[in-house]
Structures are given as structure tokens and as C-alpha cells.
């Protein structure tokens, strides 16, 4: 009896030692999480209920910021712009990256050269890349409109016409899809070859093979990419700021480039409306969570994990 009791104490002591070790090793992130994430997100909610300009102490205003938000045209405009770039941008960019990965995966000669070429644009800093595209999209002297003219199409005034500013950004986005291609390519190379061999014996067409073998096999990667792209798309900032330089304004022509993050930045750091900006931050947080939730909920229907999960 005494021995068994001693054992239990020993086990508990060992467990505690392991716990201590674990916490010690993970302490950098835990401390960082408390300072850089948990504290700010809680405080941000408090600020969102106040009027605060950095210089005077926050003044409690209840839900006033949120009420003002729902009457603010620019709030809707910036949310619309952001949803536009998310919905119109993300899926075509992913489909394009996947198509490129499929082509590359089919054992073409020079695969690694193509891969390098596709990946190269993702290395270009966003400010430099956007600047380059501003030049390509220049309505008079840009390469794109010159090419369009050569085939008899009058190109639009990409960066000046409010209807074309966001399509310009989506177009530029295709240029930066190299990372997704590389990651899709890795996922494709993990699909067991025997699946295809079996399908070929059964006489399944390539199209059918894609939907019954390839797409389900790489669906975890699709989910991962979708979530990551969604998050970065909701924070769309730099490219919009640079493109707006074409009209020398923040927000671009008719605020067609006023993305949510840009408007939030403007409220917080140009107008010092910290309370209002915090309310905006919370709305963004909720919208992102809602989107992520919907994707995760529906993912059960289209994401397949291999046998080990």
C-alpha cells in the first residue's frame, strides 16, 4: 500500500515536472500571446465603447461608435470593396494556381525552371510590384493597353476609372499566385500514383480522374489556402494604397480603392479616432470569424483526409 501511494506521488511529481518543462519551452509564445494578442483584443473592445484620441483619457460612449459605423457610408463602401476583392479575387486566383500546378505536375521537361519563373513575382515587395503594375496599366503608355490596342480593343482607363480599379488589382493578383502553385504542386506529388493507374484501367477520363481522385486528395490543401487567402484578403492594404497614388489620394477614384484596412488606418492614424477604429476592428474580426466558420462548417462536405486521420 505504502509503495503504491509512493508511486502515485512519484507519477504526479513527474507529470508536474513535464508540465513545467513544457511551459518553460512554450513560454515565449505564451507571453507573446498575452501581450500582443489577448491584451490588445480585449482592450480593443473596451476602446470601441469609448471616444479616444490618444491625448485625453478614453471617454465612455457606449455603443455610439457602432451606431455611427452603421450610418457611415465609407464603412459600407470599404466593406464592399474588401468583399469584392475577396470574392472576385480569391477563387479565380486559386483555380489559376491549381491549373498551373496540374500542368507542371504532368512530368514536363524543365519543371523546375517553370516553377522558378512562376514563383519569382511573389518575391517582389508589394510596393515595388504595385508600382510596376501601375506602369503596365498606365492608360496611355502602359504595355497592357498598347497590347489591347494592337488587337483592336480600346483599353480602359484602369487606374482612373472607378469601375476598373479593383479589376486591375485582381489582374495583378494573378501575377502573385506562385506560392499557391508551389504548394499545390507539393500536394499533387503526394497523391498516390496507384489511384490513377486503377482509374485508367477502368477507363475513367482525365476530367473524371481530376474530380474523383485529384481534387479530393488535395482538398486539405485547398482548405488551408482558402483560409489563408481569405484572411490576407480581408487585410488588403498595401496594393490599394499604392494604386491610389495614380489619383494622388487615399482611397482612389470615388473611394473605389478604399479597402477596409485602409479606412481603418485612416480613422486610427490620420484622424486619431481610436475608439471608432477599434469598433471597425471588432466588426472586421467578427466578419472574418463568420467567413472562417462557414468555410469550416461546409468543409466537412468537400475536404477528405487520408486514412490516417
Amino acid at each position: 500500500m505504502a509503495r503504491a501511494g509512493g508511486n502515485a506521488v512519484g507519477i504526479r511529481r513527474r507529470e508536474r515536472k513535464i508540465l513545467l518543462k513544457g511551459l518553460l519551452f512554450t513560454s515565449p509564445w505564451i507571453i507573446g500571446f498575452l501581450i500582443f494578442q489577448l491584451y490588445p483584443i480585449v482592450t480593443s473592445f473596451y476602446y470601441s465603447l469609448t471616444e479616444y484620441n490618444l491625448f485625453k483619457a478614453p471617454k465612455w460612449v457606449g455603443l455610439d461608435n457602432y451606431k455611427a459605423l452603421f450610418q457611415d457610408e465609407k464603412f459600407y463602401k470599404s466593406m464592399y470593396n474588401t468583399l469584392y476583392i475577396t470574392i472576385v479575387g480569391v477563387v479565380p486566383h486559386m483555380a489559376y494556381a491549381l491549373a498551373m500546378a496540374l500542368l507542371l505536375n504532368a512530368k514536363v521537361k524543365g519543371q523546375s525552371i517553370y516553377r522558378t519563373i512562376y514563383f519569382l513575382p511573389t518575391l517582389v515587395p508589394a510596393v515595388a510590384g504595385s508600382l510596376l503594375w501601375m506602369w503596365l496599366l498606365n492608360s496611355q503608355y502602359g504595355l497592357i493597353n498598347m497590347a489591347l490596342e494592337a488587337i483592336g480593343i480600346a483599353g480602359p482607363n484602369w487606374l482612373i476609372d472607378p469601375d476598373w480599379t479593383k479589376p486591375s488589382l485582381v489582374l495583378m493578383g494573378f501575377w502573385g499566385t506562385g506560392t499557391i502553385t508551389v504548394m499545390y504542386l507539393a500536394a499533387l506529388q503526394d497523391v498516390p500514383k496507384m489511384f490513377y493507374e486503377a482509374a485508367e484501367i477502368d477507363g475513367a477520363s482525365k476530367w473524371r480522374q481530376f474530380w474523383t481522385i485529384t481534387f479530393p486528395s488535395i482538398s486539405p490543401m485547398t482548405l488551408f489556402q482558402l483560409i489563408m487567402m481569405l484572411i490576407s484578403s480581408f487585410q488588403y492594404f498595401t496594393e490599394g494604397m499604392v494604386f491610389a497614388e495614380a489619383t494622388q489620394s487615399m482611397g482612389g477614384p470615388e473611394n473605389s480603392l478604399l479597402f477596409y484596412s485602409i479606412y481603418l488606418y485612416q480613422q486610427a492614424f490620420s484622424f486619431l479616432n481610436m475608439g471608432y477604429a477599434s469598433a471597425m476592428a471588432w466588426m472586421l474580426f467578427l466578419v472574418v470569424m463568420a467567413f472562417a466558420l462557414v468555410i469550416f462548417k461546409t468543409s466537412a462536405r468537400w475536404v477528405y483526409y487520408g486514412g490516417d486521420k
Binding site: G22, W29, I35, F36, K107, V124, A126, L132, W135, Q235
Partner: protein, 294 residues
Amino acid sequence: MAEQSISADRLATKTFKKKRTGRSIAKSLSKHLILCVAGVFFLGPFAYLLLTSVKSIDDIFAVPFVWWPERFYWENYSNAVHAIPFLRYTLNTLFVSLLSVLGELIAAPLTAYGLARIPFKGRNALFMIMMGTIMLPAQSTMVPLYVLYNKLDMVNSYWPLILPAYFGAAYYIFLLRQFFMGIPHEITESAKIDGASEFRIYSQMILPLSIPALFTVGLLVFLNSWKDYQLPLIYLNDPNKWTLSVGLKAFIGEYNVEWGMLMAAAALFAIPIIILYFFVQKVFIQGITMTGSK
């Protein structure tokens, strides 16, 4: 016929080379054609960037269009370097990037090791919380952090850009955790029996085995820090402290018709990264695909 071309395609590397029919050659040609067109789409803008950067204003706005300038106008580069304090911004950017890399490489592997190889209670919960924070938009913590740095008198310094790296970022920790989990336990088992401390096992066995992974994470941190625009924009007010992203953006509004000079500046900003990439490409692609399979 269809079957033959498929097999020729798939087994070309084996013994079926002789069987390459006209149709399969046409197929592979059309594949290359699509890949090349895509290649032009990816590479063309670059080439145009470089070409414009050596054109004089007259050539740039010439009608009819001038493809190849008669004389390379290198002055764009010297003008760009003088118009903005390019060297200063480069050094500032390097300073921020390198210190961020250092911080991340201290903090992220430690945390990743704890999550991958110490089976403590609550480890899974901690991991789930960490993965959840990846979905947290930076905007939702931006204002309170600014207020905090402002109180600590750190606005207009590099602290806000560097400090967070010293606590590890979830994404990099996740990458390293995946890598550490793949290292067989047998390797560390005997050291454990000999009574080596956990930190010793970490620093003398696991870290040396993980150099490719550490390298990839370091490079990703460097890239992201080098490119970053929003944080430096928020925190650096003094133009002398600006990084390349902020400096170049300010430059655009000021010189918005001098495309040659702007393109030269963009080239100078992008080229160091591209050169760096060519040196480390192999390890980097390996590392980036590391995230992919799981």
C-alpha cells in the same frame, strides 16, 4: 489511341520512349505552349520593369513606341539613389529584417520543441489556441498596441517592428513543430536515459538536425520583414528611419511621371531579394512544401 498517348506520357521515363506517337508529341507541345504563355505573363512584367528602368523620358513617352532604347539611360539609377536616401533606407530595412530573423529563430524553435516533443498536460489546447491566432486579423490588435507602444515611448523607433518576433509567430512555430515531430524519437531516447537535460537535447541534437527548416523559417521572416509596408508606415514618422517600402511609396507621389527613375528604384528594391532567392532556392522550396503536405 487515347490509352497509348496516356501511357506514353506517364511512362516516358521508363521504356516506352519509342512509342511516342505524333499525338503525344503534339500534346506535350501544347502543354509547353500553355506553360510558356504563363511564363511570359510572369516574367514579362519583370523584363519590362528592367527595360523601362534604362529608358530616358524621351524614349518612354516616344510615339511610336520604342522597344529597345538606343542608349541605356543608366542615370535613372543614380537619380533614384540620390532622389531618395536609398542607402539609408536599405540599411534601415536590413537592420529591422535581420533583428526580426534573429528573434524568430530564438523564440519559434523553443516553442515548437515544447509543442512537438514534450507531452505536457494542456499541450493540445495550447496548440489549438495558437492555430486560432493565425486567423486573427492584425487590424484587430493594432490600435491598443499602438497605444501601448506610445505609452512606452516606442513610437518612431524600431521596437514595434522587431519586438514581436522575439516571442514567436504562430505560423513559423507551426512549421517548425511539423518538422520536429518528424524527427524519430529513438534519436533522443538514449540521451534521455543518460540523463541529458531537455534543453541539451534541444540545443545539441534537435537544432543541428533542423538546419534546413530553421533556414527556411529565417528566410520567410526576412522576406516578410523586408517587404512589410503597413507596420513601418504606422510606427516610423521620421523620414530618416523609414524602410524601403515606406520610402519608395512616398517617392511615387512625388515623381509620378518619372517612370524610368521609379522603375530603377523598384528594381533596386526587388533585385537583392531575387538574388538571395537564387542562392537558397533549393532549401527554400523544400521548406515551403513542408507546410503543404499536412
